[in-house]
């Protein structure tokens, strides 16, 4: 008997795959020097892939395929939409950057979209094999993209560091998964593993196996101590790729963690809660303290994103005691983090077009030379710092809510660490804002800055999200609520 295909459930992936092939073929047949047609084609493809996501959302029924290994529920749909939107903005941000550089154009978008396909697959993956394969599809194209500036040794370095640490952590993860497979009596489906975990008679090896599995995702979300690649890779990669890594790829890792924790290991909380607790605390603290000392904006944002990753891990570390609130907090935080971080990187790209510099120094006087960029950058940074009425505060709020709902000494301690870290974080975000507004620009930068159309759209989208969510979170709280699959 052949399995019956529910094509509707697979439609987003299928459409995106089609778009990927179209981009590739179009680039072969009609070589395009500026890469602009390809970028338009890519963004169009991504938007078309959003259509089946919408129809699935309207339809609303949960779909489970292939014996439960591929599930389309509200959680999957919400995150598919998120990834496609992030991909769309990333393409917008990349268009002029890639077009003006000495790069392959068509292949760039091809690889970017392949990685996004991996993310879509990840949202629905409910077995270890699918999760592993999706994670690799997210990673491998980005290994290449990190080294896309082939003649720049820094870009090469970014690629090899990302690649090596990535491959090593996925080896560790695979080792862990193989142990889980054996311990659970030959189960790869998360639901079956969940039953095994609930039985509670696993040997200590099970706890270690869960930890080893988490390492692969901890790498993706650049959680300390698996974060070392992140600052170097972020700095060396082409900036649009960095934006993609810090938002989409990271979110991919979080989706994987959410899935394996909630659908698989949930009952074995004594094995994963302490690990995530430690990762969260270490990521926030190390990320923030190191960010204080950075002079390069991308590097600072890299450490900031390590720290933000720590904040997102906080609710997960208390998930057992407040399952719903934590799940919601992670999803909401991811969405908001995506908007504000993409926005910040879009500004970095726009500013670097003019100053040709990634140093924080080059932001001096941005408020005078390019007031709009100055305002936007300040807004994104202050949102990252969690200042109302920008979206970041809501993200922090739901995070703290989960912590307090969980209660207990461990949760509260983590909450206090998070609170202290929000304060530390403020110092370096405000430091950049201070340069923007309180310093004089370098003399050669007089005259207005030109921001290309695509980049403008990307900036406007991020800014709108940051502002609207910040002012009226009700709009958005529903999404988080709906996404909880419990």
């Amino acid at each position: 008997m052949n399995p019956v295909f529910d094509y509707h459930a697979l439609a987003p992936e299928l459409v995106l795959s089609g778009a990927i092939v179209v981009v590739l073929v179009a680039d072969l047949l009609f070589p395009d020097r500026e890469g602009l047609q390809t970028s338009r084609l890519a963004s169009l493809g991504i938007l078309v892939a959003l259509v089946p996501v919408l129809t699935l959302a309207i339809d609303g029924a949960d779909r489970s395929l292939f014996g439960g290994g591929f599930v389309v529920d509200d959680y999957a749909i919400a995150l598919k939409a998120f990834f496609l939107l992030v991909a769309y903005v990333t393409v917008l941000v990349s268009a002029d950057y890639v077009g003006e550089g000495d790069y392959y154009k068509g292949e760039f978008y091809f690889l970017l979209m392949s990685s996004v396909l991996g993310m879509l697959a990840m949202t629905s993956a409910r077995d270890l094999i699918s999760i592993f394969v999706a994670l690799e599809l997210i990673s491998i194209p980005t290994f290449v993209l990190a080294g896309w500036r082939k003649h720049d040794t820094k870009s090469n370095e970014a690629a090899i560091k990302y690649y090596l640490i990535g491959v090593l952590s996925s080896a560790v993860m695979l080792y862990g998964m193989s142990l889980i497979y054996g311990l659970s009596g030959g189960k790869v489906l998360l639901a079956d593993i969940g039953k095994f975990a609930a039985a509670g008679d696993a040997p200590p090896l099970f706890a270690v196996a869960i930890f080893l599995t988490l390492v692969g995702f901890a790498f993706k979300v650049s959680a300390v101590p698996f974060h070392f690649w992140a600052p170097d890779t972020y700095e060396g990669s082409p900036t649009p790729v960095t934006a993609f890594l810090s938002v989409a790829s990271k979110a991919g890792g979080f989706v994987a963690i959410l899935s394996i924790i909630y659908f698989g290991f949930f009952e074995a909380d004594e094995s994963w809660q302490p690990v995530l607790w430690a990762l969260a605390a270490a990521s926030m603290t190390v990320g923030n303290l190191t960010a204080l000392r950075q002079t390069n904006i991308v590097r600072m944002l890299a450490y900031s994103s390590v720290a933000q990753g720590g904040f997102i891990l906080v609710p997960l570390a208390v998930a057992q005691d407040a399952p719903r609130a934590s799940f919601e907090a992670v999803v909401i935080y991811l969405f908001i983090y995506g908007a504000m971080n993409l926005g910040a990187f879009a500004v970095v790209i726009a500013v670097a077009r003019r100053t040709r510099s990634g140093e924080i120094e080059s932001y001096a006087g941005l408020g005078q030379t390019a007031p709009v960029l100055g305002i936007l950058m300040s807004a994104f940074l202050l949102s990252l710092a969690g200042i109302p009425p920008l979206a970041g505060w809501f993200a922090k709020f739901v995070m703290f809510r989960a912590v307090f709902e969980a209660g207990g000494a461990g949760a509260v301690t983590l909450g206090v660490i998070a609170a202290v870290n929000s304060v530390i974080a403020f110092f370096y975000y405000a430091g950049v804002a201070r340069r923007i507004w309180f310093e004089d620009p370098a003399a050669e930068l007089a005259g207005p800055a030109r921001v290309p159309a695509a980049l403008t759209v990307a900036l406007a989208m991020s800014a709108a999200v940051v502002l609207v969510i910040g002012v009226y979170p009700q709009l958005f709280a529903r999404v988080g609520e709906l996404a909880v699959p419990l």
């Binding site: 090899i160 560091k161 090596l164 640490i165 090593l168 952590s169 560790v172 200590p204 706890a207 270690v208 930890f211 080893l212 390492v215 101590p225 698996f226 070392f228 690649w229 600052p231 170097d232 004594e270 094995s271 302490p274 690990v275 430690a278 190390v286 303290l289 190191t290 960010a291 204080l292 000392r293 719903r324 609130a325 919601e328 200042i387 109302p388 009425p389 739901v398 703290f400 809510r401 307090f404 609170a419 202290v420 929000s422 304060v423 530390i424 403020f426 110092f427 405000a430 201070r434 507004w437 309180f438 310093e439 004089d440 009226y472 979170p473 009700q474 709009l475 709280a477 988080g480 609520e481």
Partner: protein, 690 residues
């Protein structure tokens, strides 16, 4: 109007947007929008105040006959305290659900009661006058329009904070106020000190804000709501555990300390003088710094129960306030910058308010907030007027002022009124409110704080006399051509002077007027407070102390008595060389001494007598105070507090440096750490799961 009080913050908010959009194209470059909107808000606030008073009076009137039914019927939750049984006038509330998350609802709404109405009145009035004043003061400034836009937003944020019926909205207003003050203090950011001051103000208050945030979260989880009324009610009813209340109130107190410039987070306030003077007036009188005191007053039941204010003889809140009174006043002695004198004086006065809250003198503390707003705004605007028209944009009293009495009569007289009010001289506003704080402290047996308050009163009177002397008396030492300020500046001064004289009479306990208490003190969800009877002896003592302060200072500065020689050996002022190098001043002093001593036997005899008789007291007190001030400034303020703040920054920075070192750049080093973590964590999990 009470139900529509949301219009009051909305108008300035709209004017902020409007000024940003079209301000530059208007004839007065946006000022007219700001003045108009805030003026309208002021009118609305007056209407609201009138309606509230009407409501309270109406309720009290009706209650006379109904009291026979027993206080339980109408007395509500508030009326547990025996003779304190009054009619409960519930706040007027209005709101809607902003957003909902799980089972938590967030509301946007307003809650209008006496305290709110009082704040609305004060904020809109002072802000309106500052708006008017700035049309002249800021004329020709290159960011004139921006200045007005932010001034409007600043006012709107403060009003938003004041009308908030829930803690989240209050927090939003609070943060916006901080943000606006940051930008306004850094208005002239081209000069580095100004920018630094702005950053310092923002960062220092943020330290306190963390406390506020945690406090709000703790309260939320203790009370299950963000609604301020509900939280207060639960705190009064004892439905929240005492431990939680202690934690919450300690955290909230952190917010107050940061925002209201209490020791040890007061250092940002004097630096914040870098902003334009109208902004200083707004920050110090009506907005930023009183937000902390307002928070204390708004959530008073939490503090009252949390710190057991009715029980103990000492508590953190009173202690912080008391310390701040002395520290602030001592520091005010050694400043040469007129605005810094006023800044430290604000710190010290805020100390009174916080101490007042700490000793259970809620009405008195809020009343002091009310009166202080007028005379402190007056003094700041007066100082601005002096620098604008008298001292050639300088604020240095010793270098560029002196003798301005002749040139600027309006400024001088209004400044005098403000100083007398600040010093607490009858019948000016400051007397009534300060006296009441002290009286309540005495009555509630916070004797230590009573003494602290008296010492503070003495010092206040003394440093204000010095300030007035240096500014308005003696010879003119500046280099400009002093003249009176234009009307846009003097009229606000006169208005404020009027309030400084009269405002105190609203609650002049000596005259048995207690309208302020009646109108402002909440009667619902509020602890039963004791209200002191007027005591002539106490009031007389306070007055005497203040007069003594003036007298001593007068003797020192005007009559040139006391240990003046010490200035030659030990430069009294920190900017000693300015003082010494300033020929005019030295000459004047020298001439005075010489002339004074040889002008005749009587003068000489009296000089001699004074030297002998008063010297001991004057010498001891004046130099003592100055020395303490200097010590406090040099050691505590500049070294200890700033040092601690800097030290914290340096040590976190160094940790960051260490972490940077780990990031060696070698990918296999990273891999080594990855596997080391994997091995060690696996080992740990193995060990712990056995």
């Amino acid at each position: 109007m009470l139900r529509n009080a949301w219009l009051i913050p909305l108008l300035p908010a709209l004017s902020f947007v409007a000024i940003l959009l079209v301000g530059k194209r208007l004839p007065r470059r946006g000022a007219e929008l700001g003045v108009g909107a805030v003026g309208a808000s002021f009118v609305l606030a007056c209407v609201a105040a009138w309606q509230w008073i009407d409501r309270v009076e109406g309720a009290t009137g009706k209650s006379e006959g109904l009291r026979a039914f027993g206080k339980g019927v109408l007395g509500g939750e508030g009326g547990e305290g025996g003779e304190h049984a009054e009619v409960a006038v519930a706040p007027v509330t209005r709101g809607f659900t902003w957003w909902q998350n799980g089972n938590v609802e967030f509301n946007v709404g307003i809650a209008i009661d006496g305290l709110t109405v009082m704040m609305l009145f004060v904020v809109t009035l002072v802000s309106f006058l500052v708006h008017v004043y700035s049309t002249s003061y800021m004329e020709g400034d290159r960011r004139f329009t921006h200045f007005y836009a932010l001034l409007s937003l600043f006012t709107a944020s403060m009003l938003l904070l004041v009308v908030a019926d829930n803690t989240i909205q209050l927090l939003v207003g609070w943060e916006l106020v901080g943000l606006c003050s940051f930008v306004l203090i850094g208005h002239w950011w081209e000069e580095k000190p100004n920018a630094d001051a702005a950053v310092k103000a923002f960062l220092t208050t943020r330290v306190g804000d963390v406390g506020l945030m945690i406090g709000i979260i703790v309260l939320f989880f203790a009370a299950g709501t963000f609604d301020i009324q509900a939280i207060n009610a639960q705190a009064v009813e004892g439905e929240i555990g005492h431990t939680l209340l202690v934690v919450a109130s300690a955290c909230l107190l952190g917010g107050i300390i940061g925002k209201s410039g209490q020791f040890p987070l007061h250092t940002w306030l004097p630096d914040a003088m870098a902003g334009p003077t109208p902004v200083s007036a707004l920050i110090h009188a009506a907005t930023m710094v009183v937000a902390g005191v307002y928070l204390g007053a708004r959530l008073y039941p939490v503090f009252f129960e949390g710190f057991s204010i009715d029980g103990g003889t000492i508590n953190v809140m009173a202690l912080i306030g008391g310390t701040t009174i002395i520290i602030g006043a001592a520091l005010a002695f050694v400043q040469n910058d007129i605005k810094k004198v006023l800044a430290y004086s604000t710190i010290s006065q805020l100390g009174y308010m916080v101490m007042g809250l700490g000793v259970g003198a809620w009405v008195a503390a809020v009343f002091h907030l009310f009166t202080h707003a007028f005379f402190k705004a007056l003094l700041f605007l007066g100082a601005g007027s002096v620098s604008h028209s008298g001292s050639h944009h300088s604020f240095d009293m010793k270098a560029d002022m002196g003798g301005l009495r002749k040139f600027m009569p309006v400024t001088f007289w209004t400044f005098m009124i403000g100083s007398l009010a600040l010093a607490g001289i009858i019948p000016f506003a400051g007397f009534w409110s300060k006296d009441e704080i002290l009286a309540t402290a005495g009555q509630n047996e916070f004797t230590f704080f009573l003494v602290v308050g008296l010492v503070g009163a003495f010092m206040t009177a003394a440093y204000m006399t010095r300030c007035v002397y240096l500014t308005f008396f003696g010879e003119y030492r500046g280099h400009g051509e002093p003249h009176e300020s234009p009307r846009a500046i003097t009229v606000p001064l006169i208005v404020l002077a009027g309030f400084s004289v009269l405002a105190g009479l609203v609650n002049a306990s000596a005259l048995e007027i207690e309208k302020f208490k009646e109108w402002v003190e909440p009667t619902v969800a509020f602890p039963a407070l004791e209200h002191p009877e007027f005591e002539l002896a106490g009031a007389a003592l306070a007055l005497a102390v203040a007069l003594l302060g003036i007298l001593v200072s007068y003797a020192y500065w005007f009559r040139n008595l006391g240990p003046h020689g010490i200035t030659a050996r030990n430069p009294l002022a920190r900017a000693g060389y300015t003082f010494l190098e300033n020929k005019y001043y030295l000459d004047a002093l020298y001439e005075n001494v010489i002339v004074g001593s040889i002008k005749g036997a009587i003068a000489r005899a009296s000089y001699w007598t004074n030297q002998r008789v008063i010297d001991g007291a004057v010498n001891g007190v004046a130099t003592g105070a100055a020395q303490v001030g200097r010590f406090a400034y040099d050691v505590l303020d500049q070294k200890a507090v700033d040092g601690a703040v800097n030290g914290l920054a340096v040590s976190t920075g160094q940790t960051g440096g260490l972490l940077r070192y780990v990031q060696s750049g070698r990918v296999q080093r990273y891999a080594l750490m990855l596997f080391a973590s994997v091995a060690l964590l696996s080992l740990a999990l193995f060990v712990f799961s056995n």
